[in-house]
């Protein structure tokens, strides 16, 4: 029940500039109207893309220069708001395997981890430098290495951060934690038995 070991992600990167990008923007609620996650990639940043097109601007997700990107570079508090897993599902299904950002909302971070997608943080200056570098040269190969905890892009070589538990889970292929949670069911039953409300305060 474990996934593949994730030691690094590399490829081209798409920059998504802006603080507090919420999951309603990443995946508008009307695309949650389905009982599977299939096809979500088509709606990634759906409204923002339309809005940009109407104003004669190409949204990075529509920009052919960034097609096929494996990494996304974002700013502060990315993925805030709704807990919808549809947001990281859409990102993964679009082809992204790792995100580098200034910071992430907790729920988004956890949801990404469950999909085996590292969401690592870097300093605002380093994030801006990476965004500018791929903006200047979209073909630039970017690599995110969890062993060294560095991200490299051309001459840039910056430190990235990930909580140790998440890093360990990704590197050992245990990011899909269900296997671990099911390992010791006796311990779960014992915990339940300790809680008076589970037995409706019978004693």
């Amino acid at each position: 029940m474990s996934g593949s070991k994730i030691l690094s992600v590399s490829g081209r990167a798409v920059p998504l500039v802006g603080d507090d990008i919420d999951t309603d923007r990443i995946m508008p609620a009307r695309h949650l109207r389905a009982i599977t996650f299939d096809g979500l990639e088509a709606h990634l940043f759906g409204d923002d893309r339309k809005h940009a097109a109407n104003h004669g601007v190409v949204h990075p997700i529509d920009d052919p220069r960034f097609a096929g990107a494996s990494l996304m570079i974002v700013n502060r508090n990315f993925g805030c708001g709704s807990s919808r897993e549809h947001a990281p599902q859409g990102i993964v299904r679009w082809g992204v395997r790792g995100i580098i950002g200034e910071s992430f909302s907790e729920i988004f971070f956890g949801n990404s981890l469950m999909l085996g997608m590292p969401a690592v943080t870097a300093s605002p200056a380093d994030v801006a430098a990476l965004q500018q570098a791929v903006e200047r040269d979209p073909r630039l190969e970017v690599s995110l290495n969890l062993e060294t905890m560095r991200a490299r892009a051309g001459v840039l070589d910056v430190a990235v951060h990930l909580p140790p538990a998440a890093r360990d889970a990704l590197m050992t292929g245990r990011w899909d934690g269900l296997g671990l949670l099911l390992e010791d069911f006796d311990a779960v039953s014992a915990a339940a038995a300790r809680l008076p409300y589970v037995s409706r305060f019978a004693v």
């Binding site: 029940m1 507090d20 919420d22 009982i35 502060r76 805030c80 807990s83 099911l182 069911f185 409706r200």
Partner: protein, 472 residues
């Protein structure tokens, strides 16, 4: 000298996982139709079944129509999502309060109402406003769909313990100021991401004096300030609310429950990792002007000039102003509204509807405004109808709907169209949130929404003399 966070966390810790995280037992798992179908499918793929089906309760709220209870629902997708939840609950013996059920409603309204939500529990739900249940002194937080699968299969989650920030609300709130205003003022002060990594413990005399409904509004908005969970220590107000509710302990068990609930509250003298004080006496009715819940001002306060804001916030503020059609330096008061929405898990409980009805009584919704009242649950709806509140709203020209999330997220037919402006008692003013990509949301308290509906524009509720009673 331990805090509620320490005690409840330790009590629910199953073991330390090899990754360093805690395996945390979940005392109550609430599920709804939109974030669970994939989780049940994943469970089936692995040949697993729910480990503790009696600790799971389901309802329908997000996509359901609020215009009628007809089945099959006119919207085939809504019908499919409802039918899927019904099937999954039936297959696994999970109690479900479905469309038309006496206990159906927004998941964060019905949990407390039924007495399912209790102090000292860990509570998870595939919805970020699960923080609402923290009002009872529970550790309650939103999770994604893969985590819903985890809880179904194991009744546990792999979690990191958050740090604790104690937020003290001190002083008495002025007339027309509500718990919603306190929460929005806090988010503005601490930032929409200020709470990331923290659980919030709400304290201070203003919180002690709050009703449970008010505490729920406050805890509900924790996540809008970045805190995944927020709680109030349980006290007599909490116990009085729970007594006699369907799933609350009764008879001898009640006394044992109260003793245990009291024991899990933070010890006096316990310390938090961080502490903030908010002066309630300085808070006026709040409205948002931007596209996140932190972009707010007092109703008569000029919108800040983006050029006065720090670097990161400047661009976001400029974009938000443009999207919302506001100018820096303007006030929100006087902004024409097209839609007025009283609803959502933040502000659609009985006390909210009563307060709004007091503003509305004997008046008419402005000609150009569409007004909707969507009760938080069937129980709220019925109780309001017993008091005749539906007539107050209907006579004023509001639509009186069936319970559900409705225009809070625009997943059903209740949506803004085009660039309409909506005065809303909900919790998110994100772009596109209310169903129209260009729709514009002004968050405010339900009494402020009611006043805006009547005036046809944002007004200061303190200047509105309610005919039916005092604005509280």
């Amino acid at each position: 000298m331990a805090t509620l966070l320490d005690k409840v966390w330790d009590l629910h810790s199953v073991r330390r996982l090899p990754t360093g995280q805690t395996q945390l037992f979940i005392g109550l798992h609430l599920i709804h139709e939109v974030t669970t179908p994939q989780a049940f499918a994943m469970l089936r793929e692995r040949g697993l079944t729910p480990a503790f089906p009696d600790r799971i309760f389901g309802t329908m709220d997000h996509i359901i129509p609020t215009a009628s209870l007809k089945r099959p629902a006119p919207d085939p997708v809504a019908e499919e999502m409802m039918a899927t939840l019904e099937e999954n609950c039936r297959a696994h013996d999970i109690p479900l309060f479905g469309l038309g059920d006496d206990h159906q409603g927004i998941v964060h309204v019905i949990g407390p109402e039924l007495g399912l939500t209790q102090p000292g529990m860990t509570i998870a739900c595939g919805d970020s406003h699960t923080s609402t249940h923290g009002a009872f002194g529970a550790l309650a937080f939103g999770i994604g769909t893969s985590q819903v699968r985890d809880v179904l299969a194991s009744q546990c989650l792999a979690m990191d313990k958050p740090k604790l920030r104690r937020v003290r609300f001190e002083g008495k709130k002025g007339p027309g100021v509500t718990a919603k205003d306190l929460a929005l003022a806090m988010i503005r002060q601490l930032g929409v991401n200020g709470g990331v990594g923290f659980a919030y413990e709400y304290a201070g005399d203003a919180v002690r004096n709050m009703t449970m409904d008010e505490r729920m509004t406050l805890c509900n908005l924790s996540i809008e300030g970045g805190a995944r969970m927020g709680y109030v220590n349980p006290d007599e107000t909490t116990f009085a609310f729970l007594r006699g509710r369907q799933y609350a302990p009764a008879a001898d068990a009640w006394d044992r429950a109260v003793a245990w609930w009291s024991s899990i509250a933070s010890d006096s003298g316990s310390t938090a990792d961080d502490e903030r004080v908010i002066d309630v006496t300085r808070i006026a009715p709040v409205v948002t002007w931007g596209t996140n819940p932190g972009q707010s001002v007092a109703v008569d306060e000029p919108i800040p000039d983006p050029r006065s804001l720090p670097g990161g916030e400047r661009d976001a503020a400029l974009e938000a102003l443009q999207f919302m059609g506001f100018e820096a330096g303007a006030v929100v008061k006087g902004r024409r509204v097209d839609v007025a929405f009283i609803g959502s898990c933040t502000n659609a409980r009985l006390s909210d509807l009563r307060a709004a009805a007091d503003v509305v009584r004997g008046q008419r919704v402005a000609r150009h405004v569409r007004g909707l009242v969507v009760p938080g649950s069937r129980e709220v709806q019925r109780a309001a109808e017993r008091e005749g509140l539906h007539e107050v709203f209907q006579m004023a020209g509001f639509e009186w709907r069936e319970p559900g999330c409705s225009l809070c997220l625009g997943m059903n037919d209740d949506k803004l169209s085009g660039a309409q402006t909506c005065a809303s008692s909900s919790n998110r003013n994100f772009r596109g949130r209310q169903g129209s990509p260009t729709g514009r949301t002004l968050l405010m308290s339900p009494t402020m929404v009611a006043a805006a509906a009547i005036a046809g524009e944002v007004v200061d509720v303190r200047n509105v003399i309610p005919r039916g009673g005092a604005v509280q």
